[in-house]
């Protein structure tokens, strides 16, 4: 068996003392050691973005990121972005309302990317949203409603009430 090394990992605000293989990816540790299955394996080559997590606030592909590199950094997965009280955060709610979720496999990665974008740029243009999504693949939506969802989330987070709820009955 491969030699294992100790790793102190900070994930979603919790500290974990782990033994990990030197070649284990962060995605493997999150999914198969910590049972955080929100980040998905989609390609293993950093091309689809389904595995994205926030590392020190930046959206990073966990499938090509060695777990040992995450030492001393703050890792946040989709689970860590979800409010504990059973509600959704504004970006999650916007994805639901805008119909941006179909099969849902790319969704956690999309929301991680959107979170990183809106934290550094609360008023992104459509081009900036599209640019931020360059490393996230979706096969169901043609990205149309994903872009709309991020616009909607940004508008709501700014308190801009122009956008009606599409699900209003």
């Amino acid at each position: 068996m491969e030699e294992q090394v100790p790793l102190e990992l900070l994930v979603n605000g919790e500290r974990h003392s782990l033994l990990v293989g030197r070649r284990w990816t962060l995605l493997y540790v999150l999914r198969d050691v910590l049972n955080l299955t929100g980040p998905k394996y989609g390609c293993g080559t950093g091309d689809c973005g389904a595995c994205k997590v926030l590392i020190d606030g930046e959206a990073i592909n966990a499938c090509t990121y060695l777990a040992t590199r995450a030492a001393g950094k703050e890792v946040v997965t989709i689970e860590g972005l979800t409010p504990p009280d059973g509600r959704l955060n504004p970006i999650q709610q916007a994805f639901v309302d805008a119909g941006a979720v179909q099969c849902g496999f790319c969704t956690p990665g999309m929301i991680i990317t959107a979170t990183a974008l809106l934290r550094r740029n609360p008023r992104p243009t459509r081009e900036e949203i599209v640019g931020a999504l360059d490393n996230n693949l979706c096969r169901c939506t043609g990205y149309v409603k994903i872009v709309e969802a991020i616009e909607l989330a940004a508008a709501r987070m700014r308190g801009d009430a122009l956008w009606p709820s599409v699900t209003a009955r």
Partner: protein, 790 residues
């Protein structure tokens, strides 16, 4: 954003006028909240105590006989629990694409596959599989398996495979050659069957005869969730398989057949599907994982890597299509003959059935006195093709629609005008004598041409044709069914049970792939039972729990399962009225359901909630027997219902780099009444995405020497990214279809069918060249430009 706001307001107004409470209203996918939080569990996210991990050994040869397999080195590795291969596994033939039990016609569904075969027939074919304590051990064990192969001659190209003396890619090929199943050839003239010669006579007697040959590439579904299965075999002899299936009952039958088990001993549970598009409609590696589970009595999981997905799953059929038409000077189409050769790869799978599906599409779009279709599926030593959104139809449409534009150029006739002159009108009878029902394709074309500004934009684009960046405007049509009537049985069953608080659970064998079928079935049931759809749980696709369904395929769910839901809900509505009639000693005809209550039509004070009526039935308190209020109904499709679409787009071609950008896209759909506009639009958007890649960037490149797929990553297999997408608008012609649920038809596949033809026509317009092969890579565009100036 303001435009979107106005659209939503307009939609709300029109809904208020319709009298419908739930049907026709936008409503997000009901499980969306679990998907945005990461709470949703796909198969790869399931954890079972003691679960083993499986890994496949895939063939490095395109065609070879396995002489010897030595697993001794692999077995020595601690943590290896089972190794299976040809020499220690059952040999029961099956067809991975079987559509129902006993579906084994040698013409349509030849049984050419085994769990492991003595011969491997493509690079990526299964040789062996290992189950081990973790995936690293399984991977190492696979590396240690020694296999001695005897290489055999191979063929990769569908045309070469048809040449005399070509290597036989699969021994089931007809007459020692490579034709899979059989040749399908039939036609119609003036409402009755016609021979090829009769149709050719009509074509040749027209003023102008045009023939074009179009080549389409092999493309992959590109679902983001890699294929993943879990199986468990218990000591009391029950096999349970969790898989992202589009058709659990067919999977059960195939797995049972491969392993020699009775159906009652096999349970297939549909997991969440992370993208299907037909790619999860056929049994993949479930029989292998099941076999490993039977050898170990443990849960065994197999999850493919992305590279393995490209090598060892299904894809869209590559092929060559020739279209020959006769047309008169006045622009009236007289006849069309289409010949199609599809590359089905190493195994039959859905090959001949895809030919069958293709053939029907020829006859239900354009109106002409005579038409003929002639097609074959061909074996080659490449990864098997299979079902993919459109199921042969995108190939037909791209060949047909580019051919149509070629005719227009020769006639100097506007493509919109030509199509309006020649498409089938509502309730027309085509040359085979079929009624096309409420086919609103002409309305789609008219509405689209106006909304897109067809004439002005064509003209404006032509003003750029002297420069480096040239614009083109194109149109492309599409059509797709809503089920497979009358090809074979097309039924589904829905059960609805009322709970004692007036809420409900709906059990259906249908498969929600993220498309929202659970959501729309709840809307339909809710509309009839006047129960909020959020209070109707929908349980789907589990062979031991839900009633029978034949799969999320053929764009059938809305029409077939929607109608079954209507039948079950109406049945239950009547039971509620009957029970209330007993309670109040009033005739049932004097009662109705409104807003979650049974009420007397003439006396609104006579009013009982559904919960009260259910309680009365369960207690027998009104004098009837104690019973649960539930309804089970099977719906049998008895109509060939078709949805139609007209797509319009504008492209810009850089004549120096050969790069094409799609600037603007409009899709106009006639799917009858739209049950849920939010989900409907999502289907169209995704269909356009898939069609754009098909036209411009996607292609599984097969190495001409080795037969291996060369581009096995998303870096090299180029699907459109967000920045590649054009602006998209969707319009609907919501003329209701009489037989459809609330007038609805279908959308899934019709969203993709017209797209690539529309794009190629726009590029042809931009650069003034005939284009006969997709994808239109920069190299192909530059070659077309060079050929034009030569």
């Amino acid at each position: 954003m303001a435009e979107r706001y106005r659209e939503i307001k307009a939609m709300e107004q029109s809904l208020a006028q319709s009298g419908l409470r739930y049907v026709g209203r936008p409503r997000p996918n009901r499980e969306a909240a679990t998907k945005v939080t990461g709470e949703a569990r796909y198969i790869d996210d399931l954890r079972f105590p003691g679960m083993l991990h499986a890994k496949l050994l895939l063939s490095p040869h395109a065609h070879a006989r396995i002489v010897r397999i030595d697993t001794s080195e692999a077995e020595r590795l601690p943590g290896v629990r089972a190794i299976v291969h040809y020499f220690n596994s059952p040999h029961n033939a099956y067809n991975s694409a079987a559509r129902f039990y006993g579906d084994n016609s040698p013409f349509i569904m030849p049984e050419t596959e085994y769990i492991f075969d003595e011969v491997v027939r493509f690079v990526g074919d299964r040789v062996a599989a290992v189950a081990a304590d973790d995936e690293f051990i399984a991977e190492e064990a696979v590396r240690r398996i020694r296999v001695e192969y005897e290489p055999l001659p191979a063929v990769f190209d569908e045309l070469k495979a048809l040449e005399p003396g070509a290597p036989q890619a699969n021994p089931y090929g007809l007459d020692g050659g490579n034709i899979c199943g059989g040749r399908l050839a039939y036609g119609g003239k003036e409402g009755r069957p016609a021979t090829e010669q009769e149709v050719l006579d009509v074509i040749e007697s027209a003023d102008l005869v045009v023939e074009d040959t179009f080549r389409v590439s092999k493309v992959h579904h590109g679902y983001i969730e890699p294929v993943c299965h879990i199986a468990h075999y218990s000591r009391d002899g029950k096999l349970t398989v969790w898989t992202p299936s589009q058709s659990v009952f067919c999977f059960r039958d195939v797995i049972a057949q491969a392993l020699g088990l009775p159906h009652s001993r096999v349970r297939v549970i549909k997991g969440l599907v992370g993208g299907g598009f037909g790619g999860k409609l056929e049994v993949m590696h479930e029989p292998v994982v099941a076999l490993l589970a039977m050898r170990t009595n443990r849960h065994v999981k197999l999850r493919l890597t992305r590279k393995e997905v490209f090598l060892a799953t299904r894809s869209r059929h590559a092929g060559v299509l020739t279209v020959r038409s006769g047309v008169n000077r006045d622009g009236k189409l007289q006849g069309t003959l289409m010949r199609s050769i599809l590359n089905t790869g190493a195994y039959a799978g859905a090959g001949p059935n895809t030919i069958g599906a293709q053939s029907g599409k020829l006859f239900i779009l354009y109106d002409a006195p005579a038409m003929f279709y002639d097609g074959v599926a061909v074996y080659t030593n490449t990864p098997p093709a299979g079902a993919m959104r459109g199921y042969g139809c995108p190939q037909v449409m791209i060949a047909r629609e580019t051919h149509t534009d070629h005719i227009c150029r020769l006639l100097k006739m506007d493509p919109v005008e030509f199509r309006l002159r020649n498409v089938l009108q509502p309730h027309a009878v085509n040359c085979r004598g079929q009624n096309v029902h409420n086919a609103r394709i002409a309305d789609c074309i008219r509405a689209g041409a106006e909304a897109f500004g067809w004439t002005e934009r064509r003209r404006a684009a032509e003003a750029t044709h002297g420069g480096r960046l040239r614009r083109g405007v194109g149109v492309g049509l599409g059509v797709h069914g809503a089920g497979w009537y009358p090809v074979y049985q097309d039924l589904t069953t829905v059960i609805i049970r009322l709970h004692d608080d007036g809420t409900a659970v709906l059990l259906t064998g249908t498969h929600d792939l993220g498309t929202g079928s659970r959501t729309i079935l709840a809307q339909i049931a809710g509309e009839i039972l006047t129960i909020d759809p959020d209070l109707i749980e929908v349980i789907e696709a589990d062979t031991d729990v839900t009633p029978l369904d034949l799969g999320a395929q053929a764009s059938r769910t809305t029409y077939v399962a929607g109608n079954a839901t209507i039948m079950a809900a109406r049945n239950l509505r009547q039971q509620l009225l009957d029970e209330a009639s007993r309670m109040w000693k009033l005739p049932a005809e004097a009662l109705t359901l409104a807003d979650g209550h049974v009420v007397a039509r003439d006396d609104p004070s006579r009013r009982a909630s559904i919960a009260e009526v259910v309680a009365s039935a369960q207690r027998g308190s009104a004098g009837g027997p104690q019973r649960e209020l539930l309804a089970a109904e099977s719906f049998e499709s008895l109509d060939a219902i078709d949805s139609y679409a007209a797509d319009f787009c504008e492209v810009e071609v850089d004549t120096e780099t050969g790069q094409t950008r799609v600037l603007d896209f409009l899709a106009v759909h006639n799917s009858g009444r739209v049950i849920n506009p939010l989900l409907f639009e999502g289907q169209v958007h995704g269909g356009i995405h898939m069609g754009l890649g098909y036209a411009l960037s996607e292609e599984m490149e097969i190495d001409p020497q080795t037969g291996e797929v060369k581009n096995t990553s998303f870096k090299k297999y180029r699907m459109f990214r967000a920045g590649d997408m054009p602006r998209i608008r969707v319009l609907t012609i919501e003329e209701p279809e009489e037989a459809g649920p609330f007038g609805g038809k279908s959308i899934g596949e019709c969203a993709t069918d017209p797209v690539a033809g529309c794009v190629v026509n726009a590029v042809s317009h931009a650069i003034g060249a005939e284009l006969r092969q997709i994808p239109l890579t920069p190299a192909r565009v530059l070659a077309a430009l060079r050929q034009r100036s030569a």
